[in-house]
Symmetry: C2
Subunit: 283 residues, 2 copies
């Protein structure tokens, strides 16, 4: 099955479009309080355990998880080994893995990033990867070639959730959105090229949803970043498909340090994911 088909099946099976982000935020990892001056490898081990705890807690509740590469990279090669373990465990548990790396480069360099994540023997195996289109359509194509050959997908940055996103995205959003949807239209109802559309610009999301009928959206900005469930859900099509709505820190960290969290992170995160699912369904 293509990535788009697998994604639709997973959303229907889970009865939610919630995607749980895995952001191993070094200062707040479960067990961090017990270490007074941790080394980077010690933090990488906490990040690995945190990522595996999120995977356990998410299994059976949501269709997908979204590991954030930056937080693993900041922990060095040991952090990247933790990322690899988390990606492998999530796929083994039946979760789709959306690698949030925002990669972009030209030619064979783009192919190398794609092979790191989207190939059959990728060291950091993902079902889809976030990519930046800024270098041009010819630089998205190498990612797309590797993705399609392996039934994987991409989410192209289109209109991100941060306050300054309009400045260098708005001048190209019409052309870029047309290009993305046209690539998908050639391939079927939904295609392999998704788009990142933040929940924090409601009118923009509505317009893009109408303009891009063949494209899945990945929607950050729900919850911690200020977008409401209703704002996020304008990215859905009437059939309830077409968008994965992301909650990361809101679904995986307490707002203040909590002994309950440190004592049983899997149970705590599982309950919080359940509550986030319900909040999204009600919104």
């Amino acid at each position: 099955m293509s990535f788009a088909e697998r994604l639709a099946a997973a959303v229907i099976h889970s009865d939610t479009c919630l995607c749980v982000g895995i952001d191993p935020w070094a200062d707040r990892l479960p067990g961090r309080g017990a270490l007074s001056n941790p080394t980077r490898p010690e933090l990488a081990e906490l990040a690995r355990r945190f990522g595996l705890a999120v995977v356990d807690a998410a299994t059976g509740q949501v269709p997908a998880v979204k590991p954030q590469f930056a937080f693993f990279e900041a922990l060095g090669p040991e952090g990247m080994a933790a990322l690899a373990d988390v990606c492998v465990a999530a796929r083994a548990a039946g979760l789709l893995v959306i690698g949030d790396a925002k990669r972009g480069d030209i030619g064979s360099t783009a192919t190398a990033y794609a092979e790191a994540t989207l190939s059959a023997h990728a060291p950091f195996p993902c079902d889809a990867l976030t990519v930046s289109p800024f270098l041009g359509p010819d630089t998205v194509e190498p990612f797309l070639s590797v993705a399609e050959a392996n039934d994987r997908g991409l989410f192209v940055l289109l209109r991100t959730s941060n306050p300054g996103s309009a400045r260098w995205q708005e001048p190209v959003v019409t052309d870029l959105s047309s290009w993305i949807d046209a690539q998908n239209a050639e391939r079927g109802e939904y295609g392999p090229l998704g788009a990142v559309v933040g929940a924090t610009h409601r009118d923009v999301s509505l317009a893009l949803r109408a303009a891009m009928p063949h494209t899945w959206f990945l929607v950050p900005g729900f919850g911690a970043q200020g977008g409401s469930a209703a704002d996020a859900k304008v990215a859905l099509r009437p059939d309830g498909l077409g968008a994965l709505i992301v909650s990361a820190r809101g679904a995986t960290f307490p707002s203040v340090p909590s002994p309950d969290y440190d004592a049983n992170p899997v149970g705590w995160i599982r309950a919080r994911i359940g509550a986030t699912r319900a909040e999204l369904a009600a919104g």
Copy 2:
């Protein structure tokens, strides 16, 4: 000293603006021919040796090297460990390290990428990092904060060397180039925010050079990608400063497999870097 001051001093001391790229292209690494079906850790070890060979060959000949993160990432956590070793060795040898990672993300995620590369205890220590501005000025700022606090720099993607670069860069190039140069003008003659300007668009390079007097350019596209030495050198100011001109595979790999290369990669690469320096000086 600030990054811009260190860069100017290194170019003057080396009497060249050549920057040697480190692209560990798995199929062509020295020693690759001797392994019939290498594992990923074996390839990572070859990539590590190749990177260290380029560092040895470049030391004393050029001001800077530019490791390409993608090729190390494709080799998994062991490849990232090789990248860390190469960055550390290059800085210890007195070379400036331009990390070519083209990272870009928002808020604390951007900070995590910056801490991975530009902080005092970064696992992948670089003197400067290539970053994508597509997410907006508020997403470049976290990189800039970490860079400035540690006397490091950035090179912001502005007009890349690939054929399709105009499509989503040209609509923003005037505003983006003004924003970059204004950030630097506030800080002195040259500031910490460089720009990536490919050698393959001569008229664009000339116009940007005139419009951005406070900004260092990083110039890919010389040699293998089709830009001549004369095309690349339009990015220099009249005083011979203001640009690092990159040669990667042309300066580090033979065009066809070569026993001389495999037998003595450091000597072979040293000679090729010398020839590339001369070609650039004469162009």
